[in-house]
């Protein structure tokens, strides 16, 4: 292992600047940024090799996620069939019903997980993707690495609503009362999936030096 490394870097024993060092997202080893072909010296995985389209992949996932978020809010998330009546509630409708029922904490959790978290993620990713290509005034004081870390951390929490629908639909299916998943659950799950993909495919090297 040691010898192999010296073969690769032995010829270039120059000193390195902090800007030239990158972190392998797979094994966390510190690597030097070789530009086009970065292969981690420890786990041999590729580190951000898509040089020709640095932000486009992330943009594509983000736009897909935003498109899926629209039907996720328009169609019912959960349909309650009771005594022949069908009653579907959207995400916001469900929050309002919970609020009126008096269960404020749950209403707030759902509001946070299914409305605030996706919107916050869209805005943060839009900001990051725009700001690495165009200068947005005086943004040098904004800690973009922390913003990126936040988008990665909060992402999965929006799945709460999808899981709740799956639990309720699985639990209550009688002839007199039945709960089934609505069209919005598919759209919402896909939206969450694509925002996580957008965050994962964002090349954090682009932030470097513009902190």
């Amino acid at each position: 292992m040691e010898d192999k490394r010296r073969d690769i870097y032995g010829a270039k024993m120059n000193s390195l600047e902090e800007e030239q060092l990158i972190r392998c997202p797979i094994c966390e080893a510190v690597n030097r940024d070789e530009g086009k072909k970065n292969i981690c010296r420890r786990c041999n995985s590729k580190i951000y090799q898509h040089q020709k389209f640095q932000t486009e992949k992330s943009w594509a996932f983000l736009i897909t996620a935003i498109i899926f978020y629209i039907p996720a809010n328009l169609y019912p998330m959960l349909v309650i069939k009771q005594f022949g009546n069908e009653d579907g509630s959207t995400i916001l409708g469900g929050v309002i019903v919970l609020w009126e029922m008096g269960s404020y904490p749950v209403a707030l959790v759902i509001l946070f997980a299914s409305v605030f978290v996706p919107l916050l993620k869209f805005l943060l990713l839009l900001y990051l993707l725009i700001s690495v290509n165009y200068s947005l005034g005086n943004d040098s004081k904004v800690d973009k690495h922390t913003l990126y870390y936040i988008t990665e951390i909060i992402g999965p929490w929006s799945m709460i609503d999808v899981f709740v629908v799956a639990i309720l639909a699985g639990l209550i299916h009688l002839s007199s009362m039945e709960m089934v998943a609505g069209a919005a659950s598919t759209a919402f799950a896909l939206s969450v999936f694509f925002t996580i993909m957008a965050a994962h495919s964002f090349d954090s090297r682009l932030i470097k030096g513009r902190k």
């Binding site: 902090e18 269960s103 690495h145 922390t146 899981f163 209550i172």
Partner: protein, 232 residues
């Protein structure tokens, strides 16, 4: 070289390379670490057993030192797997509706979603709360067993790469919160009984969170390198 170490038991703060006038050469890369939160470059220092090195700028954990990490990891992952199997073997929640009992487990939930033709949602649920958690714990057991017995370095490397790819997709903790949310939603309408599996799932999630927090994949790579270097 502006190395400052604050020893503030039980944490050890490690900070270095604040002003980047210092020269770093290529063979020093192993001594460096980049914080995963704020991407600040640090130089590793040796810390005592049981302590943590924290990032200077964001106070996030950079690395730990735990001399019995493999044994602990093996014990925890076997416990986790047993709890996970129990959590899937018994009902999570039971409700009484007009004298009829309805029970639910993770897999029956998926079956129900497939029956009502929500294939994509079913796929998400089965992967995020069943397949990935199961895979993660099976990988942990294999990994720690191989590390303990110093076998098959190639397999260990592949497992570590696979592990780091699926860990972000494990959502058992979020699923637990979702169960609580749906319990509150149903509370006014029906009579609810919490099943045995709910408690085993809770314990499983606690172990899962503890393991993802205390076992960094970067550290496992380092331990792996040390273990397989020695005998030859």
């Amino acid at each position: 070289m502006p190395l400052v170490v604050y020893k503030n038991f039980p944490y050890t703060f490690v900070l270095l390379y604040q002003n980047m006038k210092t020269k770093i050469t290529s063979d020093q890369l192993d001594e460096l670490i980049i914080c995963h939160k704020c991407h600040t470059l640090h130089k590793k220092v040796s810390i005592t057993n049981g302590s943590k090195a924290l990032c200077k700028s964001c106070k996030g954990v950079l690395y730990h030192r735990d001399d019995s990490l493999i044994e602990k990891g093996l014990a925890l992952s076997i416990t986790g797997l047993i709890l996970f199997i129990l959590a899937n073997a018994f009902p999570l929640i039971k409700v009484d509706i007009l004298g009829q009992e309805q029970v639910i487990s993770i897999l029956s939930m998926v079956v129900r979603l497939v029956e009502s033709e929500y294939y994509i949602v079913a796929l998400f649920v089965v992967y995020l709360v069943f397949i990935f958690p199961l895979m993660i714990f099976l990988i942990y057991i294999t990994l720690f067993f191989l590390l303990k017995t110093t076998q098959k370095e190639q397999v260990v490397e592949e497992l570590l790469i696979l592990l780091s790819k699926i860990v972000p997709w494990n959502m058992s903790d979020i699923f637990l919160i979702s169960i609580l949310v749906s319990l509150v939603k149903l509370m006014g309408m029906l009579e609810i009984h919490i099943g045995i599996s709910f408690w085993t799932l809770t314990l499983f999630v606690i172990i899962d969170i503890y393991m993802t927090r205390s076992i960094h994949i970067g550290e496992l790579w380092k331990i792996k390198e040390e273990i397989y270097m020695e005998p030859k």
